[in-house]
Amino acid sequence: MSRATRQTPLLVVLIVALSLLVGCVAPSAPAPAAPAATQPPAPAATEPPAPAPDPMADLIKAAKAEGTLTTIALPHDWCNYGEAIEGFKAKYGIQVNELNPDGGSGDEIEAIKANKDNKGPQAPDVIDVGYGFGPQLVEEKLVQPYKVATWDSIPADSKDVDGNWFGDYYGVLAFEVNKDAVKNVPQVWADLLKPEYKGQVALSGDPRASAQAQMSVYAAALANGGSLDNVTPGLDFFKKLNEAGNFVPVIAKQATVAKGETPVIMRWDYNALADKASLAGNPEIEVVIPKDAALAGVYIQGISAYAPHPNAAKLWMEYLYSDEGQIIWLKGGCHPIRYNDLAKRGVIPADVAAKLPPAELYAKAVFPTIDQINNAKQVINDNWDKVVGANVK
């Protein structure tokens, strides 16, 4: 036998041993992500309030006993969740297991269902899904009710009366524009049809799969003679956009905007603001809330009915709905659900408020109801490829 073939089994054994060592020693499953891939949390402009009232103390103790929280589908740049997670970890010393950062609401719901019997770190404790999923969560008994301490300051139409789900933040659909690639920044929906934007306008998702893209069509409807009950003008708008050659059928990401391939995209204002902050001028990004239609979209939170760490989950909710947590979201460009309450009490730091687009634009924002959203969903799904779909030969 040649020297190589004699040595090979030895080498193989060595590699297996090494890899098992690394694989087993490398912190995985229960011991989750090592700290600080993200920037350390910036000091909150408002210091956390004095020691919490008694029920909170019990909750904190129980949560710390559980020691870990499992979240799902929370990208760090979405509403500044990165800082929220790091702040939570630092404040209470609880580990956070992050699953599937790229997931959609469907992923989160399927994850709850699949992990019903699983008490391990694959089972999500808390979910953050689209507004339209509220009824399904209740019907399929996927969540457990919980009312945070600040429950009363959450607007009535953004929460389930029994506490099964509750709105967390909202944003308004905006244009994200790469100013280095585009001479004139579009200000209204009608601008997008102009020939100067040929091959430059894109969605940030598939309207049949992504709430963000679906709401873009919905917002286009509002701007073109439709209403919250009639989304068809939005489909017509995109058809015109496609026929004019302005529409690029690629899913736009921060990279494609920065490259200039899709310099004008439609997404939530907080995502656009996050891109602007992340790119830091390279290239220059402008976030435009179209003057002719401001469609607001709410997302909702829930605690899984099968959560392996229910107390940690409840503490997470308390943290997010405290003033501190709500302002962390505000820093990410999201409007936290208790925004009006915070504004009334004057606890919003001035520098944070300065980074957001002007408040008057948000005053005109319209909030569709769950039924309206679901109807629009259906219409868009049934007609998207008929109206807009590239006829691929």
């Binding site: 020297r3 590699i15 890899s19 694989g23 297991n97 599937n100 992990n115 694959q122 490259k259």
Partner: protein, 296 residues
């Protein structure tokens, strides 16, 4: 049969029978050039097709600092401890998956060819199934079945990693099986086995000292495919181990950071290529394929 020798040893016999001399036509020089030119043309075309997109990505990743070309995006990625941790984890999972897949699939493919040829269509169909079962269905199915009472695999680190490797093995099944099967098609399995048996070899010897050394190139191809797949795999990793694996990490960077996602793509490409070169390195010195078997 010419004596076994290392690939780097010069062989006068080889020079005489090497492919390029076979094509001496009436005008000896012309035939060589013609053959080599076509070879180089195809390879060059291939290199262009594969490298230009990589160059475009690289060019974009250099623009992290406005107005100048800089390696800032690379610096940020390489300084991120999470990058090294997740990459190391996925590499180790890749190695384990390769070995487990080889041990499962290579003997099976051999056995099917040798003794159960009628099962071949069934087995081939099974190996193509992972293409049509969506990975998300697979991972949720695995969790449902093996996280509950009798197995409770997900309650321990080792158990979860085992489940992860099992999932990867399923995804690697088509590639590994096809690679081994193609390699087996190129050697005469029956004759080799019978010759070894008539010399008194047991099954272990036949498999590991006769058949597999002949399949080295094919096994290596399968190993490469599996390794690359494991490094980049996203869905199963993201639901089983979350941010501990490289795939979810890459996806998270890709969402939030434009330049870093491009530099990460280039870095992971280069690192994986280097690691494969390392695997290939262990393979050097093997006799050239096809010299040990009898005529097909």
């Amino acid at each position: 049969m010419p004596p076994e020798r290392r690939a780097w040893e010069p062989d006068l016999l080889k020079c005489r029978s090497h492919s390029w001399t076979r094509f001496y036509g009436p005008d000896k020089t012309m035939r060589i050039r013609k053959l080599n030119i076509w070879g180089w043309v195809w390879v060059t075309a291939g290199v262009l097709y594969f490298f230009v997109p990589l160059i475009a990505t690289f060019e974009f990743s250099l623009r992290a600092k406005k107005g100048t070309l800089s390696l800032l995006a690379y610096q940020r990625v390489l300084e991120d401890p999470q990058f090294w941790r997740t990459f190391g984890f996925s590499v180790s999972m890749g190695v384990v998956t390769i070995l487990a897949s080889l041990i499962l699939i290579a003997p099976t493919a051999y056995w099917i060819r040798l003794r159960l040829p009628r099962l071949r269509p069934v087995v081939e169909f099974i190996t193509l199934m992972p293409f049509v079962v969506p990975a998300i269905v697979l991972v949720f199915g695995l969790i449902r079945l093996y996280s509950g009472k009798p197995f409770a695999l997900t309650n321990t680190v080792v158990g979860t990693d085992m489940l992860l490797v099992a999932g990867y093995m399923v995804l690697a099944l088509p590639y590994m099986y096809r690679a081994v099967d193609t390699g087996l098609a190129a050697i005469d399995v029956r004759t080799l086995t019978e010759a070894a048996q008539s010399l008194g070899a047991g099954w272990g010897t036949i498999l590991f000292r006769v058949v597999f050394p002949n399949l080295r190139a094919a096994l290596l191809s399968g190993a490469f495919l599996t390794f690359a797949m494991v490094i980049g795999e996203f869905t199963i990793a993201s639901f089983l181990v979350g941010m501990n694996a490289f795939g979810p990490y890459m996806s998270q960077v890709g969402q939030n950071k434009a330049y870093e996602s491009s530099s990460l793509a280039i870095i992971s490409f280069a690192l994986t290529w280097a690691l494969m070169g390392l695997i290939q390195f262990f393979n050097r010195g093997a006799p050239e394929q096809g010299q040990m078997g009898g005529a097909r």
